[in-house]
Amino acid sequence: MRRNRWSRYHIEVAALRVLRPLGIAFFVLITLFPFYYMVLLSMREVSEILESPGQIFIGLGDVTTAAYERVLKPTDEGGEGFVRFIVNSALLGLGTVVATLAVSILGAYAVSRLEFFGKRTVHFLFLAVYLFPPILLAIPLFVAFSKMGLRGELWVLVIVYVAQTLPLCVYMLRNYFDTVPVSLEDAAEVDGATRLQVIRKVTLPLAVPAIAATGLFTFMIAWNEFLFALLFLVEERNNWTVSLGVQQLTEIETPATTLMAGSVILTIPIIVLFLFAERLMTEGLTRGAEKG
């Protein structure tokens, strides 16, 4: 088939050759700009922002770290006490990761490897958890823990987060276990190992990357979580997470620079973790999706 130089084919190909890099640049710009703006504002003076809100570059001489000092300083020194919130968020995240992994590794193994009564029900249960409105769960949990007088405790929130993250973890780990050949385990079992020994000595070491990815996901969900932290912890300032701390800055009159400094502190750990483990995590999530 002969193609005219101005055929639809050539026009489209030529247009795409120009539009593709432009489109990619556009997407990179719209995703990165808000993050850049956040960092920028956290390092400017409020008065300067009000004077020239459209300015998006600043000289090194104009950089100030006052907002960060204010956010991080303890409350008795006139700051917002974010160091404490960082520790709380980290503890909450780690507690959730350890507990969720312990439970979900066993559950995922069972769902992947073993035939047992009620397996389909378990599947359905997971689907339901994943799709239920969290706000619906929030009501009875809020009422129950208020009644027990436990609402402000961090460990209570750990339990809530475990329940929220379990389905995703079981799903990701099961997808991985499905790719580990059963023959390896059979060999160990023939050698007389018990089921738990097989899991510990054969399956787990092979699944370390998947477990790491799942753990990172769980940590990020717990670190980012807002609704339950707001409902459960708001009256216990000592137990605030970073997310809640930043949001509570808006309840008092706080300059935008301080708010942005808090947001930067909230975001940095997540971005670092994500860039460090992006491939690991996205592969765990989309494994199995290729089949459509």
């Binding site: 489109g23 703006y37 069972a110 706000i135 769960l137």
Partner: protein, 329 residues
Amino acid sequence: MVDAPVPVEAAPQSRRRARNTRARRDSRAGVLLVSPTVIVVVVMVVVPVLWALILSFQRIRLLQLRRLDILGGDYTLRNYDLLLGSSDFVAAARTTLVYSVFGTTGAIVLGLIAALLVRRSFRGRGLVRGILLLPYVAPVVAIAFVWQVLLSPQLGFVNAVGTDVLGWDSPIPFLSQEEGTITVFGLSIGVPTALLMVILFESWKSFPFAFLFLLARLQAVPADLEEAARVDGATPTQVFRHIILPQLMGVIALIAVLRFIWTFNAFDEIYLLTGGGAGTEVLATQVYSFLQARNDVGASAAVAMFMAGVLAVLLLVYLKFFGERDRQP
């Protein structure tokens, strides 16, 4: 686990018995291993949901909690009556629907375009892919407040550009204006400004989810089919329309369902951006305000049960049309 000699004695009968005990042992191990997961989910999800159902039929205020006994109390339809007669509730239900439909559509359209753009390899592709995922992984509190500042009338970048460069008469209070007008060629169109902004935010924040899954699926589209079409003279848009898109439809349907449900459930985004004001009150924020501001546990549970009911119906419809997909969570 190397050298244990394997006893190979194989009378058929004992082998069958061995298989039977093995199946039974597996079954017991399965139940045992899965039980911690099931217990957590039942105690922290199933029981609370059932209790919420009961609460929605009771008249309970938060201040009475201490006197509250778990199952007792009078049952009443008052909460549901109250809702159905409330214009706030109907408005919130409508807003939720609009927000979910357009938020989902926006996320999928953006995600599809991004996935098509990044599909073929180029230098720095891995980095671009990582960057495009950032809105989805970043803490919602942080990005919501960045948007709030960006859109602020006093110190926001968007209004600065609008007034200085684009010649707007005055800054637009994007997140507190319920209805604005856009004049195009002398024609004035009413726009729900704040609602539009939260929909934009939702699309921006969630497009990476669609992008990630569509990109993974695109990678699995066999190259020879496309090649054949190209040889036959198909243009890029024809290839997309007739070869690529049909193969993506399954994933798009799944993403649409998941995104719709999550957007429908979303609380954080709207609560943080507008607090539910300026015509952006959705069901989730209404549940929260019943619970916190008005101390009315019963009414908040009724709104939440309504949400769950709508989702259950939608899910049944989806499962009926697309069948049960064992691979999905």
